[in-house]
C-alpha cells in the first residue's frame, strides 16, 4: 500500500510522527494516540500505515527503536528521534508551512 499513498500524505504522516517524537520517546500505540490528540482527532493513524511508516523512517535513520517497559509494565518497542530526524522535521515543517500558506492564499483570493 505504501507506494499508493501520495507523497503529500506520506510526508504529512512522517511530519506528525516526528513531531510527536520530538518531545519524548514513545511506543507505537502512544504515537498513534498522540497524533490523534494533537490533530484534534482529525488524523486516525491505523497500524496498517503506522508500522510501515515507522520502519521506513528507521531505515532512513530518522528514528531509532529499542525495547522497553510500558507505563503498566508491558514490553513495548520505543521509538526515539535522531539528529537526522530533527533536521528532517525542520525541513518537513518548513515545507508544510509553505504549502499551507500557498493553499490558504489560493483559497483567500478570488
Amino acid at each position: 500500500m505504501g507506494q499508493e499513498q501520495t507523497a503529500l500524505l506520506q510526508g504529512t504522516l512522517d511530519l506528525l510522527i516526528l513531531k510527536s517524537l520530538a518531545l519524548e520517546e514513545m511506543h507505537g500505540l502512544g504515537i498513534a494516540r498522540r497524533v490523534e490528540q494533537i490533530t484534534g482527532g482529525t488524523f486516525q493513524v491505523k497500524p496498517g500505515s503506522l508500522f510501515p511508516a515507522l520502519h521506513r523512517m528507521e531505515e532512513e535513520g530518522w528514528v531509532v527503536s529499542e525495547w522497553g517497559e510500558s507505563e503498566n509494565n508491558r514490553r513495548a518497542k520505543y521509538y526515539r528521534i535522531t539528529k537526522m530526524g530533527r533536521k528532517q522535521l525542520e525541513t518537513e515543517a518548513e515545507r508544510w508551512g509553505r504549502i499551507s500558506l500557498a493553499i490558504a492564499q489560493a483559497l483567500a483570493s478570488s
Binding site: M1, G2, H27, G28, L29, K46, P47, G48, F51, P52, H55, R56, E58, E59, E60, G61, S70, N72, R74, R75, A76, K77, M84
Partner: protein, 892 residues
C-alpha cells in the same frame, strides 16, 4: 538512496529471521497495549481482545506491509518467488516440461535465425571503418545495363578525378594455373590494386600485403593467399611465406596470408597485383577505353563525406568522361556511375529471405507463447485454492501477479536454455544456406549479441505468456474471495481470453502455412518447368588450358578437335560437346546472361536508340545433339563450319520471335562489330533456360567454336551424354582428357541433374524452413484448440450430464461442443486470410509464377486447417461419450 537506507539493505539481507521475529513481537505487543487500553475503558477481556484485533486490521497484512517497505524487499520477494516457483515446477514436472519444450522450439528457432540475421545484415563489417567503404558501379541506364565492368582507363579517371574518396581500388578475378610441386592446379585469382587491402583496412595474418612497388612493371611477381586456400591447399603451413610457385610462366613468391574475413566481391584462392595479370598488364589493353575487364571497383569515403556528396562528385567525373569521349559513351546509353555502401552490397541478396524467415520464426514464438498462456490458465485454475489462501494471508494483488509472472519467466528461461542447446545444429544448416547469398555467412556465430537476444526473447516470452493469465487469475481470485463461496468457478472473461488466444494462434499459424504453401507451389512450378533440353545422363566439367602452350586460335581449335575426337570414342560416352557455357553452370547462374550489342543487316539503328542486345555462346558441332536442345529450322553446325568457310550462327527461338517474327531468319546476317564482320544465320534452336529455371529466357546467338578459337576461345566447358550413370565414368573421361594434354586442369565436375537441383537449393531451403515453421505452428495450434476443448468439457461435465439426462443424444452433444471449437478455428482462419493477404506481398519477390494471393493455396491451407481443427475438437469431445449422467450429476 541514502547511506542509512543502503546500510539497512544489507542488514535486512543478513538478519532477516531476527528482524521478522522482532516485528512479530512488536505487532503482538501493540495488540497487548491496545487490549489493555480497551480494558481500561471498561471492556471485558474477550471483548477488548476482539476490538483490538479489529482496530489492528489483520496482523499478517500489517507485517506484510512492513516487509514490503524494507530496503531490498524486491530482492527478497524475488528470491521467495523463485524458490516457490521451483517448488511448483518440481511439483508439476509434466506441465513444466511441456511449457519448456514448447518455448524452446520457438526460442531455438529465433536464436538460430537471429544469429544469421545479425551476422549477415547487422554486424559491422570486419574491415576497419567498414561503413566508409563504398562500391562503385558503372551503368548505362537507357540500355538497361546496371553493372558495366570498368576499363583500366575508367578506373584511372575516377581515381584521379574525384574529390570525395580517399582512394579508388579495382578488382577482377581470373582462373590461372598454379604449378606447384607436381600438379597443375586451377586457382581463382583476384587481380587487385596494390593498395586494395590498405583501403579495406585488412591486416595480413602472415607476412605482408601488397605495397605500391609490387605494382611496378618490372617488379618480382608476388602472391597473397586467402585464409581458406592456405588452410585447405597449403596445410596451414606457417612457413608458406617465401614459397615459390610457377604461374603464367613466371615464378611467383608468396608474401602473405589473409585473415579469415569475408572476401568481396567473391571468394578467391590467391591475390596478385594488377601488373601481374597478363591481360590487365598488356599496354594495348590499358590504352583501350573499351577493355572492360575490371568487374568491381570501390573506394573509401573521406572522413565526414556523405554518400550523397560522393555520388554527386563521381557523377561529375562521369559527365566529364561522357563529354570528352563521345564515341566510347554514346548519349543514347545514358552512361553514369553509382556508389552504394559495401555492407548493403554484400548482403542485399540475402535480405528478403532472411527477413521472411525471421518473421516466420517470430510468429512461431508468438504462437508458442499463446499456447503457454493457455496452459498456464488451465494450470492456474487448479491452483485457485492456493492463490486464494495466499491472498487471505496478506498477499496483495500485485504480489500474486508478480509470483505468477516469475514462474512464467522461469519456465521461459528454461525454454531459452534448451533453445540455446537446440540452436547450433539448426544454425549449421542455416549458414550453409546463407552462404549461397553472401560471403558474410562465414562470419555467422553465436556470440554475445546473439546470447543477449536469446535472453531478451526468453524474458519477453515469459512476460507475454505469463501476464494475461496472471492478470486474469488474480482478478478471478479476488472476485472469488469477495463472493466468499470458497470455490472459484470458471469465469466468462477467462473463457473469452482462452478463446481469443486460440483465435490468434490459428490466425498466425494460418499465415505461416499460407507462406509455406505459396513457396511450395512456386517450387513445384519451378521443378516442373521444362528447361528446353534433356537433363538426364549428362556429365559436365570445366577445363583450363595452359594458354602459353596454345598461342594462336588455330592451336586452340586444333586442341578442341583432338579432345572431341578422343572423347567421342571413349566407352560410355554417346556424344560430346564443348561450349563457353552450359545451362545451370554456377558462373552462369551468378552472372546471368551476357549482353552483346549486335547490328542486324538491313535494319537501321535510329540514332538515340540502343542496338539489340543478345547473349552469345561459343559451341561445338555436336553441342545441341548432346544436350538434346531441338533444332527448329535450318541446320545445326557441321565440321565444315571452320576458319575457311562462311562465318555462321544459330539463334534461339526468342531472338527469332523478336526480330524475324514474320519472316524466315535463315540467311539473314548480323554483326558483333558494327559491320566489320558478319555472321550468317543457318539455323534456329528451341529456347533453353540456361540461367536458372526461374529466370526469363535471353535472346541468344550461338557461334561455332571452330571459327572462334576452340578451347582457348572460351569454349572450355565439356558436356557429355553418357549411356551409364554420368558420374561413374568421370575417371575414364579424365584419363582421356589427360591423354590429349596432361596439363589440362579439370574441375567443377557435375551431373546436369545435380546442377539443376543445385540451382533450386535456395528456394527449396526457404520452402523447407517455412514448412517446418508452419508445421510446428499447426501442431502447437492444434494442441491449443484441443486443450481448450478438453478443459471446457471438463468444466461443463455437469451441464453436459444434465443435457444427456434430459434425453439429448450423445452425438448432438458432441456436435454442439465441436461446433464451439470450430467457431474459434473459423474465426482464426478468417483473421488469418486477412493477415495473409496483407503480408504475402513480402514474399512476392521469392515466388515464381505464383501470385501471393493464389486462391488455390488459400483454399488448400484453409481446408488443412479446418481438418486439423476438427480433429483437435473431436478428440476431446469424444470424452463426452464416457460421461455417466448420474455420476456427473452427483459430482460436487
Amino acid at each position: 538512496m541514502s547511506l542509512a537506507r543502503i546500510r539497512s539493505f544489507f542488514r535486512n539481507l543478513v538478519h532477516k529471521p531476527a528482524l521478522d521475529e522482532d516485528l512479530n513481537q512488536e505487532v503482538s505487543s501493540y495488540l497487548d497495549l491496545l487490549t489493555a487500553e480497551r480494558m481500561r475503558e471498561g471492556m471485558g477481556r474477550a471483548q477488548a481482545e476482539r476490538a483490538a484485533k479489529l482496530e489492528l486490521g489483520g496482523s499478517e497484512q500489517v507485517k506484510e506491509k512492513v516487509r514490503d517497505i524494507r530496503a531490498g524487499a524486491w530482492l527478497e520477494t524475488l528470491v521467495q518467488d523463485i524458490r516457490f516457483g521451483i517448488r511448483m515446477i518440481l511439483h508439476n514436472p509434466g506441465f513444466a516440461s511441456l511449457v519448456v519444450i514448447t518455448l524452446a522450439l520457438g526460442i531455438g528457432a529465433n536464436t538460430a535465425i537471429f544469429s544469421v540475421v545479425y551476422g549477415v545484415l547487422l554486424r559491422p563489417l570486419p574491415y576497419a571503418e567498414g561503413s566508409q567503404l563504398v562500391v562503385l558501379k558503372q551503368e548505362a541506364k537507357k540500355a538497361n545495363l546496371a553493372n558495366v565492368n570498368f576499363s583500366p582507363k575508367e578506373i584511372f579517371d575516377y581515381r584521379d578525378g574525384n574529390h570525395t574518396l580517399q582512394s579508388v581500388v579495382e578488382y577482377h578475378s581470373m582462373m590461372f594455373l598454379l604449378l606447384g610441386n607436381d600438379t597443375a592446379e586451377r586457382v581463382q585469382t583476384a587481380v587487385v590494386s596494390a593498395n586494395f587491402f590498405d583501403v579495406l583496412g585488412v591486416k595480413p595474418l602472415l607476412g605482408r600485403t601488397f605495397v605500391s612497388s609490387d605494382e611496378d612493371k618490372n617488379a618480382d611477381a608476388v602472391l597473397v593467399l586467402s585464409f581458406k586456400y592456405w588452410q585447405t591447399h597449403q596445410g596451414a603451413d606457417p612457413h608458406v611465406v617465401g614459397k615459390v610457385f610457377q604461374m603464367n610462366n613466371r615464378p611467383h613468391t608468396v608474401i602473405g596470408v589473409l585473415p579469415p574475413i569475408p572476401q568481396y566481391p567473391a571468394e578467391n584462392d590467391v591475390y596478385m597485383p594488377t601488373s601481374q595479370c597478363p591481360f590487365r598488364a598488356n599496354p594495348n589493353n590499358i590504352a583501350n577505353r573499351q577493355f572492360r575487364l575490371i568487374s568491381a571497383a570501390f573506394g573509401r569515403l573521406k572522413p565526414g563525406v556523405s554518400l550523397e556528396k560522393a555520388q554527386a562528385d563521381l557523377s561529375t567525373v562521369a559527365h566529364q568522361m561522357e563529354a570528352a569521349y563521345p564515341k566510347d559513351y554514346p548519349r543514347e546509353y545514358g552512361y553514369g556511375i553509382t556508389a552504394a555502401p559495401l555492407q548493403t552490397e554484400l548482403t542485399h541478396r540475402a535480405r528478403t529471405t532472411l527477413i521472411v524467415l525471421l518473421a516466420a520464426a517470430g510468429f512461431v514464438l508468438l504462437i508458442a507463447c499463446a499456447n503457454v498462456a493457455n496452459l498456464m490458465l488451465a494450470r492456474i485454475l487448479k491452483r485457485e485454492r492456493e492463490l486464494a489462501l495466499r491472498t487471505a494471508l496478506g498477499a496483495t494483488k500485485a504480489r500474486v501477479i508478480r509470483q505468477l509472472l516469475t514462474e512464467a519467466v522461469m519456465l521461459a528461461m528454461g525454454g531459452g536454455i534448451l533453445g540455446l542447446i537446440i540452436a547450433p545444429s539448426a544454425l549449421q544448416v542455416l549458414v550453409k544456406f546463407a552462404a549461397r547469398f553472401t560471403t558474410r555467412a562465414a562470419e555467422v556465430k553465436m556470440d554475445w549479441p546473439v546470447l543477449l537476444f536469446t535472453l531478451g526473447a526468453s524474458l519477453l516470452a515469459g512476460i507475454v505468456a505469463g501476464f494475461a493469465p496472471a492478470l486474469a487469475s488474480s482478478r478471478q481470485v479476488f472476485d472469488a474471495l469477495k463472493q466468499a463461496t470458497g470455490q472459484a468457478t470458471a469465469s466468462a472473461s477467462r473463457q473469452k481470453l482462452r478463446g481469443a488466444l486460440v483465435i490468434a494462434q490459428v490466425a498466425i499459424s494460418f499465415m505461416l502455412l499460407v507462406g509455406a504453401g505459396l513457396m511450395l507451389r512456386s517450387i513445384v512450378t519451378l521443378e516442373r518447368t521444362d528447361p528446353g533440353f534433356r537433363l538426364d545422363h549428362l556429365l559436365t566439367m570445366r577445363l583450363s588450358v595452359n594458354f602459353t602452350h596454345y598461342q594462336t586460335s588455330a592451336a586452340g581449335e586444333q586442341l578442341s578437335s583432338r579432345l572431341l575426337e578422343k572423347l567421342s570414342t571413349t566407352a560410355g560416352v554417346d556424344s560430346v560437346g564443348l561450349a563457353s557455357n552450359y545451362p545451370f553452370s554456377r558462373q552462369g547462374i551468378i552472372a546471368g546472361p551476357g549482353r552483346n550489342s549486335v547490328q542486324i543487316e538491313g535494319r537501321l539503328v535510329t540514332p538515340g536508340q540502343v542496338p539489340p542486345q543478345v547473349d552469345a555462346d561459343v559451341v561445338s558441332t555436336d553441342y545441341f545433339t548432346t544436350i538434346r536442345q531441338p533444332l527448329l529450322m535450318g541446320r545445326s553446325f557441321t565440321d565444315h563450319d571452320d576458319q575457311k568457310s562462311l562465318a555462321v550462327a544459330i539463334i534461339n527461338q526468342s531472338l527469332m520471335r523478336h526480330f524475324w517474327a514474320n519472316e524466315d531468319p535463315i540467311g539473314k546476317r548480323f554483326s558483333f562489330d558494327q559491320g566489320q564482320h558478319w555472321n550468317t544465320i543457318v539455323g534456329v534452336v528451341a529456347d533453353a533456360r540456361e540461367y536458372g529455371l526461374e529466370r526469363g529466357i535471353p535472346e541468344k546467338v550461338y557461334v561455332p567454336e571452330q571459327q572462334n578459337g576452340g578451347a582457348t576461345g572460351g569454349a572450355n566447358r565439356l558436356v557429355l551424354r553418357t549411356s551409364v550413370d554420368p558420374m561413374s565414368i568421370y575417371p575414364t573421361v579424365r584419363a582421356a582428357i589427360h591423354s590429349v594434354d596432361p596439363q589440362l586442369a579439370v574441375d567443377q565436375v557435375d551431373s546436369m541433374e545435380r546442377l539443376q537441383q543445385d540451382s533450386l537449393t535456395s528456394p527449396r531451403t526457404t520452402t523447407i524452413l517455412l514448412a517446418i515453421f508452419a508445421g510446428i505452428a499447426l501442431l502447437i495450434s492444434a494442441t491449443g484448440i484441443a486443450g481448450v476443448m478438453a478443459l471446457s468439457i471438463g468444466q461443463r461435465t455437469r451441464e453436459l450430464g444434465v443435457r444427456l439426462a434430459l434425453g439429448q443424444s450423445r452425438s448432438s452433444v458432441i456436435q454442439m461442443v465441436v461446433r464451439q471449437g470450430l467457431a474459434l478455428a473459423i474465426a482464426g482462419t478468417a483473421l488469418g486470410v486477412a493477415g495473409s493477404l496483407g503480408l504475402a506481398r513480402l514474399l512476392s519477390s521469392l515466388l515464381y509464377q505464383t501470385s501471393p494471393t493464389d486462391a488455390f493455396t488459400y483454399t488448400a491451407v484453409a481446408a488443412v486447417f479446418l481438418a486439423a481443427a476438427s480433429l483437435a475438437c473431436f478428440l476431446p469431445a469424444h470424452r463426452i461419450t464416457a460421461i455417466d449422467p448420474s455420476m456427473s450429476l452427483r459430482q460436487e
